[in-house]
């Protein structure tokens, strides 16, 4: 394993605090400065400028938008957001990363590559020796654009466009860090590739953009992780994740979010899956103060199979608003979604899911289930699983439940000598097991399971 030979230009290292422009007073020149500092190629810099204009001209979604009816961001002070931050020095080995991240990145033998972003900068990159020979590209976006301009131009923005809404525009204009992964035709990546986005400077915003493209027949497992331990002030993350799974390719993608309780995270994550490809998404959402996320799967080739297994656990005053979209654009596709959540104390969760079967997508098979376990009478769960079906030769089923811990199960366990608390823990654990079992990488699975247990324990 090699520490990266990064080509990122030397940083100015100016300790920007009060002098750093806030989002409200930013100009085109500040955007150009971010581009220069991040080492953008001409293509990337132009893209930023165009996105900045779009962002300036586009209002934030309001509560009149169906997907924003239940999350009010009108009082959020965007103008105070600080989009850049002082440079962090690159580290040359994983062991030099902050101690709090050691657990997150897991043991070296469980990964084939790793990118770590802290605040607005990539601070560490490593990749297996074999990557070069296999022709795999894995680097922060600016670096990838210098190494493989054609690939970056082909896949950047191909799945999530900057001009979709104000958030995607903001991400493209102010992009920081992020990752670009390209796996060539027929190449199989043995061990998981990990992308860690973390933060430590108060009030700084991050705009990570993660791009993954698998060519025909390629196989990979990729883990994106958002982690912090609750530095003072607030944290803002506006992310875009776009995945392309080529024909007959196979991608297992894991999203693990365990921000500290001060973070507002808005994310648009979408995958396009090609003919006869396999895609599996495991989503775990535990942290943050406000989390708004779209997880969208577009089935674009016949015979595609897309699966999403999600789990969320809200507590305190956490606000989670998830939207899933199973978009069957062509026929003979299978999508299968299971999204399970628990709520404690005053948590508020919204699950809004849509299965759409387009007119020509005959012989589609789609399933969508949302299960909620409410553990407190002050919590609130909304569930809106929807179907829009325009083809007739299809099988579509969905279900949603909201309920409490089953008294009979508790009674049974207590009759076997467990106390109520342990019995409840066991039942909650059992509720999540079917989802947690699907998480890739043993260390990650253990980490997630422990984190869920901690939350369950209150």
């Amino acid at each position: 394993m090699n520490p990266t030979e990064t080509t990122t230009p030397a940083r100015a290292g100016a300790p920007a605090t009060d002098a750093t422009p806030r989002l409200g007073s930013m100009t085109q020149n500040d955007v150009a400065a971010i581009a220069a500092r991040g080492g953008d190629t001409e293509f990337l810099a132009k893209r930023r400028t165009a996105a900045w204009r779009w962002y300036q001209d586009t209002p934030f979604p309001s509560r009149l938008d169906e997907l924003w009816r239940r999350t009010d961001i009108s009082k959020f002070k965007w103008e105070d957001v600080i989009p850049t931050c002082p440079a962090h020095p690159m580290v040359t080995s994983a062991s030099a990363l902050p101690a709090s991240l050691q657990e997150a990145i897991g043991p070296a033998e469980e990964r084939s590559a790793l990118l770590v972003q802290i605040d607005a900068e990539t601070v560490y990159a490593e990749r297996a020796d074999t990557f070069a020979a296999q022709g795999i590209t894995f680097a922060p976006i600016a670096e990838a654009a210098r190494l493989q301009p054609a690939l970056v131009e082909r896949y950047l923005g191909a799945t999530v466009r900057p001009d979709e809404n104000r958030f995607t525009g903001m991400n493209a204009a102010l992009r920081s860090g992020g990752a670009f992964l390209h796996v060539p035709k027929g190449v199989r990546v043995e061990r998981p590739i990990r992308i860690v986005v973390s933060r430590q400077t108060p009030n700084v915003a991050q705009f990570p953009h993660i791009v993954v493209a698998l060519e025909e027949g390629a196989e990979a497992t990729v883990i994106e992780e958002y982690v912090s331990s609750g530095e003072p002030g607030i944290g803002v993350c506006v992310g875009v994740t776009e995945l392309t799974v080529g024909d007959a390719a196979s991608l297992h993608f894991a999203t693990f979010q365990r921000w500290g309780g001060n973070v507002y995270h808005f994310g648009t994550e979408r995958v396009r899956v090609g003919r006869d490809s396999r895609f599996h998404w495991t989503v775990t959402e535990l942290g943050g103060k406000l989390r708004k996320a779209d997880f969208e799967m577009f089935l674009e080739g016949e015979g595609a199979e897309a699966k999403l297994s999600g789990c969320y656990f809200g507590s305190e005053t956490q606000h989670f608003d998830f939207h899933t979209f199973q978009n069957h654009k062509v026929g003979h596709g299978v999508s299968d979604l299971l999204f399970k959540g628990a709520l404690r104390s005053r948590a508020r969760t919204i699950y809004q899911g849509l299965i759409k079967i387009h007119r020509d997508a005959q012989r589609s098979d789609a399933y969508q289930a949302n299960r909620n376990l409410i553990l407190s009478n002050k919590a609130r769960a909304d569930s809106i699983p929807s179907l829009e079906i325009e083809a007739n030769d299809v099988r579509c089923t969905h279900g949603a439940t909201v309920g409490q811990v089953d008294d009979e199960q508790i009674f049974y366990l207590m009759s076997r000598g467990l106390n109520r608390h342990d019995a409840e823990m066991l039942v909650i654990g059992g509720f999540f097991t079917p989802v947690l079992d699907r998480i890739p990488a043993e260390s990650l699975r253990a980490l997630v399971t422990a984190a869920v247990e901690r939350k369950a324990d209150g």
Binding site: E66, N377, V394, V402
Partner: protein, 473 residues
């Protein structure tokens, strides 16, 4: 399938009637106020009806709400409605003005071919004032009033029972509820008023047909039903015969109050001709241990947006909503249900069956809400949709908003086509394909049709057969 490809010839139910029976209505109404809506028109309506001042105020306030409220941006396409191109009040036909003899012969022929009894034909063709209900239903009416049951058209109820009326009117659906409820509150005319006293159980279903000197089913009818403690009533509105309307907007409001331990069932069979926008607000307030049941079948209209709802405000209240939506060519049925659990130990059951065909769009839009402090609630929602061809569409939009932990809420939905195996089996028994398909569809909605009064269930199945004729190829 592209638009260029030859389309299967389609027999639409209403087209079918037209072709087969030459059913249409060219009758010019005797009197109309001017088109459009403003405070003057609303005041005129109130004056013509000789209403008390408070109702006039209520109407004018409602008009303000109507003007302020935005059009819904969801559901169906509403942009074609021109509120200024509508007559908001038709003076009730003069007693001598319109008789059975005036009804065009072709309409009479249509009714004959459908096998509708003459008394009901008269009602349907708008000569209700001459409708000889006195003799037919005299006994029923007598026994009802002996029990203290009030069954009047809403306007007469305001006149004859002002206190009872005012106590409940507009309490379940305030004018500010939505744009169309506001419109109705400003312009309402006709509809039924029912009061069932404590402990009285009305054995026979009450039907709109029975109304004495009733106005015809109007554009902006307003129905108010009060079921007192421990009482029971079953009300049936609409009929399976297509109701031809020259007016393209129907915005009714139905308010129901079911008091402690009472039970009300409200059955609707909606079969407006397919030029009609049917935008109806129906809501019931169910008190302690009360039961409210909506059986709601939507077959007609161009666009229906209707979500019968039950607000359970007393402990142990129960709601039951059964919904059928059948959308054929050019139709959009945005049907559904709303249950609000606002008291502990309340239970609800929603079953929806939707069928779309020949490019029609049928859907379920529903809400299950449990408010804070309403522990022990249980709710089950089950939606099934059948899409009969590749041009048609089905939508399911269930909303669940749960603010309580001691609950059990479930929603399930499936969308599918007619099972090839079922068709194959029936056809192997010598049944032609379209009949077999009609049988499958009838079986699909059977859980709901079995809840209809028998004659309606029979007619419903006949309608389905008609809809399905020549539909499979």
């Amino acid at each position: 399938m592209s638009d260029q490809q030859p389309q299967q010839p389609v027999l639409d139910i209403r087209e079918g009637y037209k072709e087969k029976f030459g059913f249409h209505d060219d009758i010019a109404p005797v009197y109309k106020s001017r088109k459009g809506l403003d405070p003057e028109v609303v005041s005129t309506i109130s004056e013509m009806k000789k209403e008390p001042a408070w109702m006039r105020e209520f109407r004018l306030k409602s008009l303000e709400h109507f003007e302020r409220k935005p059009m819904p941006t969801w559901g169906g396409r509403l942009s074609d409605i021109d509120f200024q191109d509508i007559y908001y009040y038709l003076k009730p036909v003069d007693e001598q003005g319109r008789t059975w003899e005036d009804v065009p012969a072709d309409i009479k022929r249509t009714f004959d071919k459908l096998g509708i009894p003459e008394a009901e034909q008269k009602f349907l063709s708008g000569v209700g004032a001459q409708y000889d209900s006195e003799t037919v239903y005299h006994k029923i009416k007598e026994s009802l009033s002996a029990q203290g049951v009030i069954f009047l058209d809403t306007g007469s109820a305001l006149e004859q029972h002002p206190d009872l009326f005012r106590e409940h009117f507009g309490t379940v659906i305030p004018p500010s509820d939505n744009k169309f409820a506001a419109l109705n509150s400003a312009t309402w005319s006709g509809g039924s008023f029912i009061y069932v006293p404590k402990g009285v159980k009305v054995e026979l279903p009450l039907q709109a047909y029975f109304r004495i000197n009733a106005q015809n089913m109007g554009q902006f009818e307003r129905t108010l039903i009060i079921v007192d403690e421990g009482a029971f009533v079953h009300y049936v509105e609409g009929c399976t015969a297509p109701i031809y309307a020259t007016d393209s907007l129907h915005a009714a409001v139905v308010e129901i109050v079911v008091k402690k331990g009472g039970r009300c069932r409200y059955t609707t069979i909606q079969n407006w001709s397919n030029n009609v926008y049917n935008l109806v607000t129906k809501r019931a307030m169910a008190h302690e241990d009360a039961t409210m049941e909506w059986v709601d079948a939507n077959l007609g209209s161009k666009l229906t947006m209707k979500y019968p709802s039950v607000y359970m405000v007393g402990r142990g209240a129960h709601a039951e909503i059964l919904s059928i939506a059948f959308a054929g060519k050019g139709q959009h049925q945005d049907a559904g249900a709303k249950v609000v659990h606002a008291a502990p130990d309340t239970t609800s059951n929603v079953m929806s069956k939707s069928i779309s065909k020949d490019g029609g769009r049928a859907g379920y839009r529903g809400l299950v809400k449990v408010t804070k402090g309403s522990g022990g609630c249980k709710s089950t929602v089950k939606c099934d949709a059948l899409i009969l061809d590749e041009d048609s569409r089905s939508d399911t939009y269930p909303y669940m908003e749960i603010e309580e932990d001691m609950v059990s809420i479930g929603h399930e939905a499936t969308v599918s086509k007619i099972g090839d195996e079922q068709l194959f089996y029936l056809m192997s028994r010598g049944i032609p394909e379209d009949e077999a398909a009609a049988m499958v569809v009838s079986g699909f909605i059977e859980p709901i049709t079995k809840e209809l009064p028998m004659e309606y269930a029979v007619e419903m199945n006949r309608l389905i057969q008609l809809q399905m004729e020549g539909s499979v190829g």
